[in-house]
């Protein structure tokens, strides 16, 4: 008869054997072939891509919703949900015809009224939409497939604006959903995109699940950025939120997930060394690092002081602080992202160096006022910038205080218009996708809207006039000239300092192929080989 000691010993051995058996390897069992497991760079917390510019919400947006127009790799607008988009001779009437056979995930057909409600809501939040709304006289819907936009004055960039790929795209929602207040998040996640959101499996901060929308009708052209056919090759898309970079890399190497949006730069060599993983580039236009001044408070209300900082900035220091190699970034002497159409690197020359910066600071009359830098230590892309800037400013001769905090506190602190001794701020850092800041309308960084504008409240009527003139330019030549004038103005006034343009990598299993590049990860085209 077995005694207690023997029983415990045998049970322990049996349990261990069961646990370690390769047949129970999570990587292999229980996952159908047509599931794609993706690890986003950030957790998805806001499901409404209209009320936020968060990149992860826009990626989510492209799963669930579609847009009237998309863009190709050259950022040229192309019809997507639209069959066509035509302007009248005087430019004051745009007629957009919807493709046949478009449905929402609830089975209802997409109608022009849905487009009107969606565009009205979007144009109350988005910077391009706000510019469009200023000239819209009326939306008309002569039939369910036709949308007519009547304008007070011509708006030549209509299709660019309707097709913008980022921050924020003009996603089309059902009318009842789009009638939600633009400052409140929608509660029904219903679109006409290639995937439908599976609400009952959503675990905030942990998992997001989408299923292929069988009634989605992709275009016939090949996919190119957000234009062309959005052909989905997976029945199920799961976003697995893994906040630890090493764990995410391990999970990819172990085959537990298929695709990491943005591995840490330090881990790229490890991933490249794995025979089952390949590393690619996300967005060829990249991101820009930005140092934003509070132009409404001393000392940075003085353009000469801002200029002094620019003269001393060495972008290689900032890019190196992010752990990037030389082939992963570009030094960009502009306040617009280099590499974007029409942007001239070095249009106003190059920085003169530390000594020139010191000289300019002295000439500016700077009296040693305290400079407060808000530094988010929980952001891998931003935390390194704070100490680099603090050190740089001290070397120029500023009185600097670097305040470390989390991003949530930064977003609150930067709304303060008070002086620094009452909780205000002088500098914060951020990053932007190049495509989100690539022209005088979009580039929130340099717009001179003053108190009504972006944090930092840079006020420059001339910049605003240039933006308006550019938007209404009669032809491409004049538009480019105005764009260059705007670029020079941005360097003369220096509302920000650009800290470098850099690319980010993705990593995926070698069994995946066909992924489409863009300013966000797109889940059409990609397939398992």
């Amino acid at each position: 008869m077995m005694n207690r000691k023997d029983f415990l010993r045998r049970a322990g051995l049996a349990g261990t054997a069961v646990l370690v058996s390769p047949h129970f390897a999570l990587a292999q069992v229980g996952r159908p072939k047509s599931t794609l497991k993706f690890v986003p760079a950030n957790a998805l917390t806001i499901l409404d891509p209209i009320i936020t510019t968060a990149a992860v919400s826009i990626t989510h947006g492209y799963c669930v919703w579609d847009t009237l127009f998309g863009v190709n790799g050259k950022l040229e607008p192309k019809p997507q949900m639209a069959e066509s988009g035509v302007a009248s001779t005087d430019g004051k009437t745009w007629t957009i015809k919807l493709r046949d056979g478009l449905f929402f995930h609830d089975g209802q057909p997409v109608r022009s009224k849905d487009c009107v409600a969606s565009l009205e809501r979007w144009s109350k939040r988005d910077v391009s939409g706000i510019a469009l709304a200023k000239v819209v006289e009326a939306y008309q819907t002569p039939d369910d497939r036709t949308l007519v936009i009547k304008l007070k004055s011509p708006f030549p960039r209509m299709l660019h604006v309707l097709g913008k790929p980022h921050s924020s795209p003009a996603f089309i929602m059902p009318e009842r959903v789009a009638q939600t207040s633009p400052t409140q998040a929608i509660t029904e996640i219903i679109g006409s995109g290639p995937y439908r959101f599976v609400a009952k499996e959503y675990v905030p901060g942990s998992k997001v699940v989408y299923e292929k929308f069988e009634k989605y009708k992709p275009r016939v052209e090949p996919a190119d950025w957000t234009s062309g056919g959005k052909v989905v090759n997976f029945d199920r898309l799961e976003w697995v939120i893994i906040t630890d970079a090493s764990t995410a890399a391990n999970a990819l190497q172990n085959g537990e997930v298929d695709w990491l949006e943005t591995p840490l730069p330090d881990l790229i060599p490890v991933l490249k060394g794995n025979s089952n993983v390949k590393v690619g580039i996300n967005d060829p236009y990249g991101l820009i690092g930005v140092l934003r001044f509070n132009s409404s408070q001393v000392p940075f209300n003085n353009p000469k002081v801002r200029q002094a900082v620019w003269e001393a900035v060495n972008q290689t220091d900032y890019m190196g602080a992010l752990g990037l190699e030389k082939n992963e970034y570009e030094v960009c002497h502009s306040n617009y992202p280099c590499g974007m159409p029409g942007v001239k690197n070095g249009i106003s020359g190059k920085p003169g160096g530390l000594e020139k910066a010191k000289k300019l600071l002295k000439e500016s009359g700077y009296k040693g006022e305290r400079v407060v830098i808000l530094n988010p230590t929980d952001s891998a892309n931003l935390a390194p910038f704070g100490p680099v800037t603090a050190d740089l400013l001290k070397r120029i001769g500023f009185n600097v205080e670097l305040q470390d905090m989390d991003w949530g506190t930064v977003t609150q602190r930067r709304t303060s218009k008070e002086p620094v001794d009452k909780g205000g701020w002088s500098i914060f850092h951020t990053t932007w996708p190049s495509v989100a800041t690539g022209d005088p309308l979009l580039n929130t960084n340099v717009r001179g809207q003053g108190q009504a504008g972006w944090f930092g409240w840079f006020d420059d009527p001339q910049t605003e006039q240039l933006s308006n003139d550019w938007l209404n330019a009669p032809d491409a030549t004049q538009q480019q000239k105005l764009f260059e004038d705007a670029q020079r103005r941005a360097m003369d006034t220096m509302p920000i300092v650009l800290l470098g343009k850099f690319i980010t990598h993705n990593a995926m299993r070698k069994t995946l192929a066909g992924n489409v590049q863009g300013s966000a990860p797109y889940f059409w085209g990609v397939r398992r080989t």
């Binding site: 069961v18 646990l19 370690v20 390769p22 129970f24 390897a25 999570l26 990587a27 069992v29 229980g30 957790a43 917390t45 806001i46 499901l47 009320i51 936020t52 510019t53 939040r125 910077v127 921050s167 207040s181 400052t183 409140q184 998040a185 509660t187 959503y202 675990v203 905030p204 901060g205 942990s206 998992k207 697995v240 939120i241 893994i242 906040t243 630890d244 090493s246 764990t247 995410a248 391990n250 999970a251 190497q253 172990n254 537990e256 929980d378 905090m405 989390d406 991003w407 949530g408 506190t409 977003t411 609150q412 602190r413 930067r414 709304t415 951020t430 929130t444 108190q451 009504a452 972006w454």
Partner: protein, 313 residues
């Protein structure tokens, strides 16, 4: 006994009220504002003001507090500002992995810590005692995330025996669930094993010098029986206290372990809510924890009566 239980449960009410007031006040004065996170990069001052109004954040502190207290009294912990899901649902989603991780960690810690403590006490002053005590110092000192990374590298990445991350719900198989939490539980159990081993050793050293132990030995009782039947039972109270403390701490969420192994537990829910300033979730989770802590303490106190018959309520 029943009276005692009822009194202890009733005592949770003032505890919850005090905790609620404290956490509400703390969030009110702390920097950060969910409206600014919700509003996005290009929000105007008017957008922010409107969002704050819609969320009720512009109302006076006492108005907000009493409204929230009234909801909590009815069992309604509110909704997440961001996901719009009820806080009770969010907690329920995260409870299973947290409870299973806690149980697994304590099982491993007890199975490792208790025998080590007993052996160390028995071999007091010898090489085995020194080894156990040194190992327990390592258990306290080495950060959990370091242990976690090493375990993941060896047992997940190299050997492929366990997953590197994630949690498999019990509904998909109990043993699969256990397997998905084995490495995190081992990583976490280092600290608790060390604590239990040292507490057990200290208690055992005291017990082993007692007269009745000498009598048992003199009567020819085997060493195993002396240690694990007579002596260990007498150490039950201090060991239960340490185990109870460990359970209470683990319920709060092993945040670092949950982050390293990407486990969707209560710890990560709390941290994510704090970073986003998701006030209803933070408040709801803290209230839930305070209630649970009181419950765990009650259970431990009741277990004392089984371990030591002299204790009666």
């Amino acid at each position: 006994m029943l009276n005692y239980i009822v009194k202890r449960i009733a005592a949770t009410i003032p505890v919850v009220i005090v905790v609620g007031l404290f956490i509400f006040g703390l969030l009110f004065v702390a920097p950060g504002d969910p409206a600014t996170i919700l509003a996005g990069e290009q929000a105007t001052a008017q957008d922010l003001a409107q969002i704050r109004q819609e969320l009720g954040l512009d109302r006076p502190f006492l108005v907000q507090f009493f409204e929230w207290s009234g909801q909590v009294a009815q069992g309604n912990l509110g909704r997440s500002i961001f996901s719009k899901q009820p806080v009770t649902v969010l907690i329920a989603q995260r409870l299973e992995p947290t409870l299973l991780l806690m149980a697994l960690t304590m099982v491993i810690s007890v199975l490792v810590g208790v025998p080590l403590g007993v052996i160390a006490a028995f071999k007091h002053g010898g090489r085995l005692d020194t080894f156990v005590m040194s190992a327990s110092v390592l258990g306290f000192s080495v950060p959990v995330f370091v242990v976690g990374y090493i375990l993941a590298y060896v047992f997940a990445l190299q050997l492929g025996w366990f997953p590197a991350q994630g949690y498999t719900p019990i509904a998909e198989g109990f043993w699969r669930a256990v397997r998905s939490l084995t490495l995190p539980a081992i990583a976490l159990s280092g600290v608790y094993s060390a604590l239990i081993a040292r507490t057990g050793r200290a208690a055992m050293l005291d017990i082993l010098s007692q007269d009745y132990i000498r009598t048992a030995r003199a009567k020819g009782v085997s060493q195993w029986t002396v240690l694990f039947v007579h002596a260990l039972r007498a150490c039950g109270v201090p060991l239960l206290t340490v185990i109870g403390m460990g359970v209470a701490l683990l319920i709060g969420g092993a945040v670092v372990t949950e982050t390293v192994f990407s486990i969707p537990g209560l710890g990560r829910l709390t941290v994510d809510a704090i970073l986003q300033r998701d006030y209803p979730v933070i408040q709801g989770v803290v209230i839930f924890f305070s209630f649970l802590y009181v419950l765990v303490n009650l259970v431990i106190d009741l277990l004392y009566t089984f371990v030591d018959p002299r204790i009666r309520y």
